[in-house]
């Protein structure tokens, strides 16, 4: 056990756990997008950044292990402002057709944006528009809505162990691809919806759910 100063109070932590694990245990909520408890950390979305005293930059809590004598601030003004900017960046590259998206009520990006109090982004940038891929009899991929969290890539690799997805191109035009950027239509995807379950937004949906209201509990905006 090691002692850590978390938001001003001393707490006990186990060696090897990440800052995010510790915060979850202590009931402190940190927004995450690319992180999923069942997958290895990616460190791509940078939403879970926290302030660690002595560090040059903010550190992402999902992959940074705790160290003895760490002093952590999870909700300092600097952290909040950075998180807000990241959400704004995500929204600016995300299409604005939430009203017709069937994940609208269960969308993690919207939930995080609402929690942080971010509305319409103050700036606009190029959006990544791609045609909808419906070659697959089970899964419909709408990559315009993709936020590039790489959860589907990791889920396919680590949960299903199928390695269907990978990342293609670079920079702003990065894209989750299948083979050499072919439409998703693989025998291995038969009756598998692992990636759909892990997608935080409406980029991956089951064909049967596409035009149906999802009967999941709508999210509640935390104060």
């Amino acid at each position: 056990m090691i002692t850590i100063k978390l938001n001003g109070s001393n707490v006990e932590a186990r060696r090897g756990m990440t800052i995010l694990d510790l915060c979850k245990e202590k009931g402190i909520s940190i927004p995450t997008l690319c992180y999923h408890p069942q997958l290895t950390p990616t460190g791509a979305c940078r939403l879970c950044v926290v302030e660690v005293e002595g560090a040059r930059t903010l550190v992402a809590s999902c992959h940074t292990p705790v160290a003895p004598g760490m002093t952590i601030q999870t909700h300092s003004p600097k952290v909040i402002q950075t998180r807000k900017m990241i959400v704004e960046l995500l929204l600016s590259a995300h299409p604005d057709f939430c009203p017709v998206c069937n994940k609208a009520n269960v969308c993690e990006l919207r939930m995080i944006a609402a929690d942080l109090g971010v509305g319409l982004p103050r700036f606009r940038t190029k959006k990544r528009y791609y045609p909808i891929e419906d070659d697959n009899p089970y899964i419909i991929r709408d990559l315009s809505k993709c936020v590039l969290c790489f959860r589907c890539v990791k889920a396919c690799r680590e949960v299903k162990m199928a390695n269907v997805y990978s990342v293609g191109y670079r920079g702003h035009s990065s894209k989750i691809i299948v083979d050499n950027d072919q439409p998703l239509n693989k025998e291995v995807c038969r009756q598998c919806d692992v990636c759909v379950l892990f997608c935080p937004v409406g980029a991956l949906v089951l064909r049967e759910e596409r035009f149906r209201k999802i009967s999941r509990k709508p999210f509640i905006i935390k104060g």
Partner: protein, 399 residues
Amino acid sequence: MPEKRIVLENCGVIDPSDINTYLSRDGFKALEKARKHMTPQQVINEVKRSGLRGRGGAGFPTGLKWELCTKSPEKERFVICNADEGEVGTFKDRYIIQNDPFGIIEGIALAGYAIGASKGYIYLRAEYHYLRDLLENAIEQAKTKGFLGEKNNESFGIEVREGAGAYVCGEETALMESIEGKRGEARYRPPFPPEHGLWQKPTSINNVETLANIPHIIFRGAEWFSQIGTQQSKGTKVFSVSGDVEKPGIYELPMGTPLRELVEELAQAKDLKAAQVGGASGRLIPEEKLDTPLAFETVLGAGAVIVFSKGRNIIQVVRRNIEFFAEESCGKCVPCREGTQVMSDILRRFSLGQGTKEDLTILEELSNAMMLASLCGLGQAAPNSVSDSLLYFRSEYDT
């Protein structure tokens, strides 16, 4: 201070394709000295005492990095020479490789001896493909002379690996991913490369210039080396000067030399407006701050100095920098992937004279967020020139 040549001592004097010319100038003497009279720990201590810091820009103490590698229980370790010199305006590594490849090989062999590595890699950027034959020939010659390979109970070999032309692969973890054959994307840290580097084994990754310094330190001793330079930056630094100067090129100066001396006296810049130290990701230094000493304490980077004369438009300069980063971002983390894109959009508006006051606020907030939250050095350093131009050349952003 006049030029002082340590790293470039043999450049232009020896024949890069003939090892005998290098041997006649005390070549490989340091390696022999280390292997015969020093333990690996003594070599590390010597480098630590010399105060040598990484020349790739971050300035991490080299001796400490090596020591961290030896602390790991893993027996298989690697040395990587980072010759992916992607930073805009740097050409010092190319010059060193072209003129003194044996010095680098000796440095890698010494690093390998110190940390107990089984293999060394030279990661050459794709644009330097034409240097590959020269390097491989030099490695072959060192092998036949018995400095590398199976002789002396040392089975240390060096392999040349080539990149595919991505700027981000100069970043240490992305470089390792690339050697492993994966997509060049930065990994998150910790764990740092001395713990889990190439193929998750302890790896020491050093810049070409850092490794070229090693033989001189071992041969002449740490005391001699630590007398040169400033309190926290020892030795000399090789600068590549380009832009609006009369005499662009490579200059080696002791650490702590004022920037003015380099650009005005040696490179003979006239009507200078600003100099960017450290390439596209470097800091923008206006004319009035030109007396800043060049050292790790103040401003250094990888040693690229790009000079802009009075006729240049700073917004155009910054815009070009950001467009470069938007092109070269790997696309993994959000602040860098989207941030560089948004920034280049805003700067395009400013260069057309359509920028607004709100754009300025966004630009400031965005550079802060990118510096604080990006995954690797690319995103963290990309807004440097934007924030410096907002600080020193705000009048040019007139709205």
